[in-house]
Amino acid sequence: MSIERREARQPWILLSPALGAVALLLFVPLLFIVVYSFWLRSSVGADTAGFHLDNWIKALTDPFYRFILLNTLKIAAITTVLCALLGYPAAYFIARSSGNKMILLLLLMLPFWISYIIRTMSWINILGASGAVNTGLMALGVISEPLQMLYNEAAVILGLVHFLLPFMVLNVYVSLEGIDTNLEDAATSLGATRWQSFLQVTLPLSLPGLAAGGLLCFVLGAGTYITPLVLGGPRDAMFANLVFEAIITQLNWPLGSALSLLLLMVLGVLVAVYNRYLGMSQLAKGLG
């Protein structure tokens, strides 16, 4: 075999294990649940194969499912906006700080390394009946009975913001770092105030980072079921909780398949729109 031919084959040999794994453990399983979502659940033994629309009809028309889907999108949207409001100024501070940027960034990234379940449950120590806030307020005599701050939608959103904020900060930081500071100086030297130069130069140039962070926060937030289980009440279920219920509790795998695919499609549309206008490279930058 000629050297050129061998050279041309080499990358494919290197790539094949990873591509094989992704194909076998992601793409084929996704196709499989598309098929499975048309099967029927049987209460005894194996689910019956076939082509039935029952699961899809239930997933798409059940008013409870629709309510939960809309509520999930609402929670994810609020979370994303809060992450942007908290994360942008923090990222701006790190990017424009004269101190050690890497340390500042690392500090804010540290929680990213702390387990999601621990960060979520840590709020019980803060907001619970015998948590920091209630104990503090009672010691000060402001309240006599502990306030009920946990197990509601606000607690779920708080937990999600705490979980997702590092993604936002990192993405905004990366895009702010990429902006030539001379542009801001040019704007101010031409008579713009610092605020004007921020609004008309820095902010527009950092929008790709903000969008990438926002997409990550939204998609990750909308796909969670752990936070509502830990910090939410019985009425704060999100769409992924329905999937978990169907698959793990009710063992209704055909319906669970349809519900998972519905979630995938809703979030997929979002990712596709993002990809159409901004491309995936910005996202890869923030993740690397």
Binding site: W113, I117, S130, H162, A240, V243, I247, S260
Partner: protein, 261 residues
């Protein structure tokens, strides 16, 4: 004036990120028998309780084995693929990259359901093998992104020099490429291990009954009652998943400065 405002705002954000975690660590040393506020003194009793808790120790062993195996497999696959993507002009590079990072573009719940149902259909039900497969596929994109970012900085001409001086391709790989690659490999493996060790979303779908990893163990303890042992377990986890990477980074830095001298 504006800068002071931004700085105070950023400090508040930092506090928001760190305070809850700090409270977990603080309460884990609490002597109070309910482990809640007010603190009555410092004690290691909850750590002792953890050490004597068989379920927790079992979960630790499971998580460690799972994390190590995930790191080995995921890093091997990820390093090979990254080498191909960085070193060669592969046709359709963008498409391949998108396919390889697809496991983190798909919501983890959906990935979890698809993998569970498909492997179950193939005859692999909820088991350690399913857990491992899930953790590998979920960590692979992170490894590829981290390793690729580091690989770009390794120059090809050093290898070409070795080859032109008579080293065989295998010799070149082991004595030139691999040592230069080590930081990238280590970073990838560390990333894979930490993500696997922390994962709960997929793990709850894939784990067989009776098997718990540390996060799922914490989750099931939370459902029973808020025991102070959970805070102690949280502190141990924080030490492990934050301490290890920091230690690794410090070690890498001291090694590279020594080599530089």
């Amino acid at each position: 004036m504006g800068w002071v405002l931004i700085r105070s705002y950023a400090i508040a954000v930092y506090a928001f990120m760190f305070l809850p975690v700090a409270v977990v660590v603080l309460l884990s040393f609490n002597a109070n028998q309910f482990g809640s506020f007010p603190m009555t003194g410092l004690s290691l009793r909850w750590f002792e309780a953890l050490w004597n808790n068989d379920a927790v120790m079992r979960a630790f062993r499971t998580s460690l084995v799972l994390g190590l195996m995930t790191a080995v497999i995921s890093t091997t696959l990820g390093v090979l693929a990254s080498l191909a993507l960085v070193r060669y002009d592969v046709p359709g590079k963008n498409l391949i990259t998108t396919a390889l990072i697809a496991p983190i573009l798909v919501p983890e719940v959906v990935l979890a359901v698809a993998l569970l149902l498909f492997l179950n259909w193939l005859g692999i039900g909820k088991s350690f093998a399913l857990l491992l497969a899930g953790h590998v596929i979920f960590t692979l994109p992170f490894v590829i992104l981290v390793v690729q970012a580091r690989l770009v900085s390794i120059r090809r001409d050093v290898e070409e020099a070795a080859l032109s001086l008579g080293a065989s391709p295998v010799q070149t790989f082991f004595s030139i490429t691999l040592p230069l690659l080590t930081p990238a490999v280590a970073a990838g493996a560390l990333f894979a291990f930490t993500i696997s060790f922390d994962d709960i979303t997929g793990t709850l779908f894939w784990k067989p009954g009776g098997v718990e990893t540390v996060p799922t163990q914490i989750f099931s303890m939370l459902r029973n009652s808020i025991s102070p042992e959970i805070n102690a377990l949280g502190t141990v986890m924080i030490l492990l998943t934050v301490g290890l990477p920091l230690l690794g980074a410090a070690l890498a830095r001291s090694l590279s400065t020594k080599r530089g001298k």
